[in-house]
């Protein structure tokens, strides 16, 4: 199964492919993000209820969506690493986790900045913000566990197990926080879900979501290449690459 994936398990082949992908994805994601934010900031009508503060949606919603998406991707890499003992998938976890943590941080930060004008306080124990906060703890847990070991291999494998355990717990945490929220506070004043939007507002949001996805791809390529170099430091092709980089700089 997945025989066509085999060459990418070899680090050197994967390294070259990732470099190629990164050169394409990085500029593309920047362009798409710029397009989406400028369109969303300047060229869409204000929301009749929230005025212009709703424009924060163009950063908050993609970050919130992709914080879950990144965790899912990390869990897939962890599952592949544990079940098929694919080394490159093990290294991907350490590469992806910080990106997910930053996305979650952005979602929390923009959620608070958006909540201030609406609810008057920076932090509200709203169901979505609370599960976003717990997701941040899960990401930080994976990162902390990965760096806690002297031996890099053990750290990667331990992080893989925690990522898989985390992804099993994610829906449970999400729905129990959702249930907890309705129990203690009743429905929050304004449903925090995406307000029903007419197309003119929807397009920039979709572009921003695509932009965040492309950026995630580009950053993963960059970070995974570093991880490959670190793990294969003793290989001759890495030594040669290091010399090339050194000469390129002189």
């Amino acid at each position: 199964m997945f025989k066509w994936l085999d060459p990418y398990a070899k680090p050197q082949v994967l390294f070259a492919t990732l470099l190629w992908w990164q050169r394409g994805l990085m500029p593309l994601s920047i362009v798409v993000l710029l397009l989406g934010t400028i369109w969303g900031l300047g060229f869409t009508p204000a929301d009749y209820q929230q005025g212009d503060s709703y424009r924060i949606i163009h950063v908050h919603v993609p970050a919130a969506i992709w914080s879950m998406g990144v965790y899912a991707w990390m869990a897939i890499a962890a599952f592949i690493a544990l079940v098929w003992q694919v080394k490159t998938a093990q290294w991907a976890i350490g590469a992806i986790a910080p990106i997910g943590a930053v996305y979650t941080l952005i979602a929390l930060f923009t959620g608070a900045a958006w909540g201030k004008p609406m609810w008057g306080t920076w932090w509200v124990w709203d169901a979505r913000l609370t599960s976003e906060l717990i997701l941040l703890f899960l990401f930080l847990g994976v990162m902390a566990l990965q760096n806690a070991f002297a031996d890099r291999q053990t750290g990667d494998k331990a992080a893989a197990v925690l990522a898989v355990v985390g992804v099993v717990n994610l829906p449970i945490i999400h729905y129990s926080v959702e249930w907890w929220n309705t129990l203690h506070q009743g429905a929050t004043i304004t449903k925090f879900a995406k307000p029903s939007m007419d197309p003119s507002m929807l397009w920039p949001l979709l572009i921003c979501i695509l932009g965040f996805a492309l950026l995630f791809g580009a950053l993963t390529c960059l970070r995974l290449r570093t991880a490959i170099l670190q793990h294969e430091a003793h290989r001759p092709w890495v030594r040669q690459y290091v010399e090339e980089q050194q000469d390129a700089k002189l």
Partner: protein, 70 residues
């Protein structure tokens, strides 16, 4: 392309009174993403510096060993 929603640039900055929050969240997010990208790039460069340092150290050790054999 839909028309520009604000009359003037200063109006655009004010963002209907919510300028502080909107620009805070956009600035913060872009700042965080830039920091992540820069940090990852720096991590790679740091590794390359380390490795070339190591290669130089190994060369020195080998020279030392060759000198001893002679």
């Amino acid at each position: 392309m839909p028309s520009f929603n604000f009359t003037s640039f200063s109006d655009f900055l004010a963002m209907g009174g919510y300028g502080f929050f909107v620009w805070l969240s956009f600035g913060g997010s872009i700042g965080a993403l830039l920091a992540l990208g820069w940090y990852s790039k720096r991590q790679q460069q740091q590794f390359i510096q380390q490795q070339s340092g190591r290669a130089a150290r190994e060369a020195r050790v080998r020279q030392q060993q060759d000198r001893e054999q002679v």
